[in-house]
């Protein structure tokens, strides 16, 4: 089996989609790793559902005793650090930002994505229940939705599917899917393979993808930096 990108490498590739001044909301899992790979000198303004913009990095394990404070957390409940220029607001204002199209980019985890860009990510697999949380508002309303995921499930089944089999988070919302073997753009014509992980061929990626992939004219190897 060929090598796949690590979760960190997926996050690194996604970090290349950010831009200076971008307002970004990161979901839990792989998405939360993106903040570690923002290029030096670029200001990214992080938004968290519980009402903060522009806060700093997550408190590291070694700083916990000194810096952890339950009154400064992100949407995953992780302790974060204060930063000059940050500000606070309440939940209705926070989702007014999301719903009003003021969040430039959200990066979300994936159970399934189909070729129209429908995203399913809120039901716990196999439990028949799930948490909607803030993900649905983000998927419906962020200006750009990036799906971050392994290309296949643990049992090797494609996560890019023809038809989602679990309840949707939002229809036709995903703009870009970044996986451990490919970068795929959702277009009006279908899924377009834009980039491949080192060593992977179009055919190998297609074999792990349910819908037919269109191949970008400028198809290239994934660049992480």
């Amino acid at each position: 089996m060929k090598e796949r990108l690590s979760r960190e490498a997926i996050a690194m590739r996604i970090a290349r989609e950010l831009f200076d001044g971008a307002v970004v909301n990161l979901g839990i899992g792989i998405p939360s790793l993106v903040s570690s790979f923002v290029p030096e000198g670029m200001t990214v303004i992080y938004h968290t559902e519980n009402g903060a913009l522009g806060f700093g990095p997550v408190v590291g394990a070694e700083e916990m005793a000194e810096k952890a404070d339950i009154d400064l957390v992100n949407a995953s409940g992780q302790y974060v650090t204060p930063k000059p220029g940050m500000c606070f607001f309440h939940h209705a204002e926070s989702f007014a930002m999301i719903r009003g199209g003021h969040v430039d980019i959200t990066v979300l985890g994936v159970l399934e994505v189909n070729e129209k860009g429908d995203l399913a990510n809120w039901m716990f697999p196999g439990r028949g229940v799930g948490n909607i949380g803030g993900g649905m508002d983000l998927a419906f309303n962020a200006r750009k939705v990036i799906a971050a995921t392994e290309h296949t499930t643990k049992d090797g089944k494609p996560k890019l599917v023809r038809q989602c089999s679990v309840p949707l988070t939002a229809p036709e919302c995903v703009d870009l899917v970044v996986t451990d073997i490919a970068v795929v753009e959702v277009t009006g014509k279908g899924l377009v393979l834009k980039e491949f992980a080192p060593g992977w061929t179009v055919e190998e990626i297609q074999a792990l993808t349910e819908p037919k992939l269109l191949v970008a004219p400028d198809l290239k190897e994934i660049q992480l930096l």
Binding site: I70, L72, S76, P82, H91, S94, R99, R127, G133
Partner: protein
């Protein structure tokens, strides 16, 4: 002089009847959660409650502590309206989760932004509004769809409550509240949407001791204030400000 201070949490929740609808500030950990008001309500024992909160308690996302899960453990709740009702750990389902799956507690699940906006609408005298969030998902069930500029949206109705339990940093005696960092979350909007709002705070000060430009919840929304008397031991550095300047 207006003075809304109540000495004990017991007093503050004493009149809550069976069947009350209660909003509870809560999000990803104990910050901004009215911990002692919830405990007092658990002791008080009112039953058949409807709880409106982001979670149904005990989701285990971060610190394990007694949030409104204790109300479910006590079987005081008949209905919960939430966006994040289930434990994130399948091996440790919350009391609410078990009761919901057993059909003992009714769940209304909502997208978080819709939940927040419905509460805001309840306080703002807006009976209903349209939002794009939820179209073509399970959320659409039973709701009216209508198109605005070609985009499908759902009609959502305001939420109001009999009581709101909110957590703030400081209150003046008139009920003006300031928060600290991400404590705000649902608290300021819940304070506007209940008939009786009870605030649990770190410190009560005199009118005039809070910067009028930094008051988030105007005192007219707050009916009772109770000051926390003990340290529950959560990681917290009240002596340190989150206001940091450039190096």
């Amino acid at each position: 002089m207006v003075n809304k201070v109540v000495v004990t949490f017991e007093e503050a929740v004493a009149d809550i009847p069976n069947g009350a609808v209660i909003m509870v500030g809560n999000f990803a950990g104990p910050g901004g959660t009215p911990y002692y008001l919830i405990k007092a309500l658990a002791r008080q024992g009112a039953r058949g409650l409807t709880i409106i909160a982001n979670t149904a308690g005990g989701i285990g996302l971060t610190l394990d502590y007694d949030d409104h899960r204790v109300l479910f453990e006590n079987r005081q709740v008949k209905k919960v309206i939430a966006s994040f009702p289930f434990s994130t750990s399948p091996s440790r389902p919350s009391s609410a989760e078990k009761q919901i799956l057993a059909g003992e507690v009714e769940l209304e699940i909502l997208p978080q932004g819709t939940l927040a906006e419905k509460i805001r609408a309840g306080g703002a005298g807006i009976p209903a509004f349209y939002t794009p969030t939820g179209v073509e998902t399970v959320i659409e069930k039973g709701k009216e769809r209508r198109y605005f500029d070609g985009r499908p949206c759902l009609l959502e109705h305001a939420l109001k409550a009999d009581y709101a339990f909110v957590r703030a940093h400081k209150a003046d005696k008139m009920g003006n509240l300031v928060y600290r960092g991400t404590m705000r979350q649902f608290n300021p909007i819940m304070a506007t949407a209940a008939r009786v709002t009870i605030a649990e705070v770190d410190r009560v000060v005199e009118a005039g001791d809070l910067d009028p430009e930094a008051v988030v919840t105007p005192g007219i929304f707050v009916n009772r204030i109770v000051q926390v008397k003990e340290d529950p031991g959560f990681p917290r550095r009240l002596e340190r400000s989150f206001w940091v300047r450039q190096a």
